[in-house]
Symmetry: C2
Subunit: 470 residues, 2 copies
């Protein structure tokens, strides 16, 4: 199918849009705002949108999408721009649709364990509000992303081992479709078998199937007691075995993160610390105090069986923070050593038992290519990241980094895994989609895209990689 | 869009199918097998398929679907026929595709907490196999359904409050599409953000979008210690408040079921038992012994605050079974009083805080219509069932029962809930889909159906209710 032709908006069309939105301040064309909306947090090459639009209501979004369909102008939703695969880069120009003014927390229902929000609210602000009720929203990607962005790429983070990813939290959505139709999916019920799961189709669709304007999310009680622990091991395999043994024992681990030895070494160099330069497991337990004490005792026992040393734990917030410092500083340690460069983070996810071998493989590949890299593993769900810095203006360096990424992806696919556990496809993983899912499945994805966005206006070039006119 | 015209298969076409499948015993046309495949477990009117086909491999399913597309013959997948909304009734005749010969457990990977199975395996047989590894598959609808059937209607059950529904367990699928193309979705990774969530589109699609031929499922460690408890309360509200307080306290309740007073009365009449005829909460806790003991102590405390009496608990399997007997016997007590009738079970799900009022409303409506009904609530997720018996050959009785069902559904939708929490749409809930989701969302569902099944061959008349020629 040939790509439908897309247009850059003319000044007259932008004036029309300003008038449709009833307030010229909802449309920005200054260089600074366009530059701010030209990239994300990653190494992917920026591209300027022609204008940045700031909707303040679902009606505004509808007006933009009607206008965009009429003029065949691309629209790329934007939250805080913290994505890592170029999701927010407007590859074909057009409109960057900045959702941050739609940041209301519309409804908090503690007794129903749910909340209804607009997409522009950040996770930290949502959690500030929920803390008053003794509740929280668990999905915790590295950045303080917007809920809309987190829905768009099915984000997860360190809490996923216990609470699941974004797709497990979204009960319902309001979505404006290409052309301006508004639909609602799901409900306020926790469970439903009422028809095709449209909610799940939009979660992870990265702004290519519609623009989310409202979401109903599950929320959870804040645990009464939290304990952080850390231990280091003779090998990545030994550390991973402890994590699996804990899960196998039915322990509802709250967090379990692996940092490999060279990454600890980089942190020591960066912070002047003296952590043992061995594979290190960072754990968190949460629940009632008695249950947590029992869990940590079991963890200590299991760690000892695997020759874990320096087992330490803390319960006070500040002390817990210090105990986990090496985990939190890992990516920063790499970034600090490369000022002016931008981040590339691999994001494969493999079956649990494959994680140690996959991490060892990734470390070897990074070393072969002379890359200073942090390796962090969400060892409870098989997702791990190799993070390194590249100069986006050095094509040779970008190619070398992409070669490393590619070898790591191919390795994960061969192990029965996925090219992206939580960062999404964006522009960076389009090329692996067929290798992962097969041509027939990707063809079906393209057919779904064609139903929902027949003009190819929504975030062109992302996910299923509709060809983009340059 | 007019319904594509569907055909009944001719004897010659059935001979062609026998020859394609290489074994005449894979195609049955005897009256007895056709009758067995004409209905499900519910009151919905049966209809005979023209033939029953027993595929033994994905290739067989592909051959059937290619043949069916060529001749425009409907195909309706069939497991054990335990659905409750007429899912397996072949409304337009054609082929009942009996999947029970494809019942292999293809792969058990304890260290990855996943299993790969064919759709015809039943949940009890899967769990027998997993018990050897100290693992289990948690989704537990009332019947001993096949995994394929459970995927088809996104089944759940009493374990859902802790482990989620079917959609939370399915990591990947092999699906034969209408026309015979085979796709694979998902992977063996626990998390993925790699493209549109095709897996979630097929889970709950009730055989209307494709035929599942393989599934990768999450499995879990068997808990080390299990405790069942029971207490009765002055009101449904008081019982529900205890359930919510437990969840609010962060207790990972394994099961929490509510049985209302008239239902207990029916059980006493049926079994000659003397349970207090008051709203009763049935609880289960599972984990390490120390954690469970702590949880049950909290439950007892919370129950006392709500004037709960007769708090009892048991830890041995047989004693646990006895303690829960009134819960297990509730539907049977109603069924035993109405020999020869068939079951209708409502299946709405409402926000948690709405459950007591919804249950009280349902009881009132049932009484107004003179229906002897059991009311069972999955009070941890807001899903409840009103179960009563109807004579499918008495149109007035069916109409009266459907009127009760309709009032219960309208009430649930008004409370922000769904018309079906776990039984699915089948033919029984088609008429509520627009009221729940809105015309625009249902139109999108129909558009997705048209992409995946352009000839309307797959389970016609179900879910989105493609009009069926009579």
């Amino acid at each position: 199918m040939p790509a439908p032709s897309l247009n850059r908006p003319t000044p007259t069309q932008l004036d029309e849009l300003r008038s449709l939105l009833g307030d010229p301040r909802k449309v920005g064309t200054g260089q600074a705002v366009r530059e701010h909306h030209s990239h994300d947090f990653s190494y992917h090459r920026p591209r300027l949108p022609d204008a940045v639009v700031y909707p303040e209501s679902t009606d505004d979004v509808r007006a933009v999408l009607e206008w965009a369909a009429r003029h065949r102008v691309p629209v790329v939703p934007f939250g805080v721009g913290s994505s890592l695969e170029g999701h927010t880069v407007p590859l074909a120009g057009g409109i960057s649709l900045d959702m941050t003014r739609m940041d209301a927390i519309l409804e908090v229902r503690p007794e129903d364990f749910l909340v209804r929000v607009q997409p522009g609210v950040t996770r930290s602000r949502l959690n500030q509000r929920l803390a008053r009720e003794g509740l929280f929203f668990p999905v915790d990607p590295g950045a303080d992303a917007t809920i809309g962005g987190m829905i768009a790429n099915n984000a997860s983070g360190t809490n996923a081992v216990r609470y699941g990813a974004m797709k497990h939290q979204v009960l319902g959505l309001e979505v404006v479709l290409a052309g301006g139709r508004v639909i609602r999916t799901g409900s306020r019920a926790v469970k439903s078998s009422a028809g095709y799961n449209l909610t799940a189709l939009f979660v992870g669709s990265e702004g290519t199937l519609g623009v989310v304007t409202e979401a109903i999310l599950r929320i959870y009680p804040l645990p009464e007691f939290v304990l952080a622990a850390r231990a280091s091991f003779p090998s990545v395999e030994a550390a991973a075995r402890v994590a699996v043994a804990l899960i196998r024992a039915g322990v509802p681990v709250a967090r379990v993160e692996l940092v490999d030895a060279p990454t600890i070494r980089a942190v020591n160099a960066y912070k002047g610390t003296r952590y043992p330069e061995r594979p290190t497991l960072f754990l968190e337990f949460a629940g009632t105090e008695a249950a947590v004490r029992e869990e940590v005792a079991l963890a200590q026992e299991l760690a000892a069986l695997e020759e874990g040393v320096d087992f330490a734990f803390e319960t006070e917030p500040a002390a817990r923070e210090r105990l986990w410092e090496a985990r939190h500083q890992a990516a920063l340690a790499i970034a600090a050593a490369a000022p002016g460069r931008r981040m590339m983070a691999t994001d494969v996810c493999v079956p649990l038992s494959q994680l140690p071998a996959a991490v060892a493989f990734a470390r070897r590949v990074a070393e072969e290519h002379g890359l200073e890299a942090a390796i962090l593993g969400h060892v409870g769900d098989g997702n791990y990241h190799v993070t390194f810095m590249v100069d986006p203006d050095d094509p040779a360096e970008v190619r070398r980094a992409e070669a490393v990424n590619e070898r790591i992806v191919r390795d994960a696919l061969a192990r029965g895994g996925t090219c992206t556990g939580e960062h999404g496809v964006g522009m960076g993983k389009v090329k692996y989609l067929e290798a992962e899912h097969g041509a027939e499945a990707v063809e079906l994805m393209r057919a779904l895209k064609a139903v929902l966005d027949p003009l190819g206006i929504l975030n062109p070039g992302k996910v299923v990689g509709t060809p983009v006119p340059s």
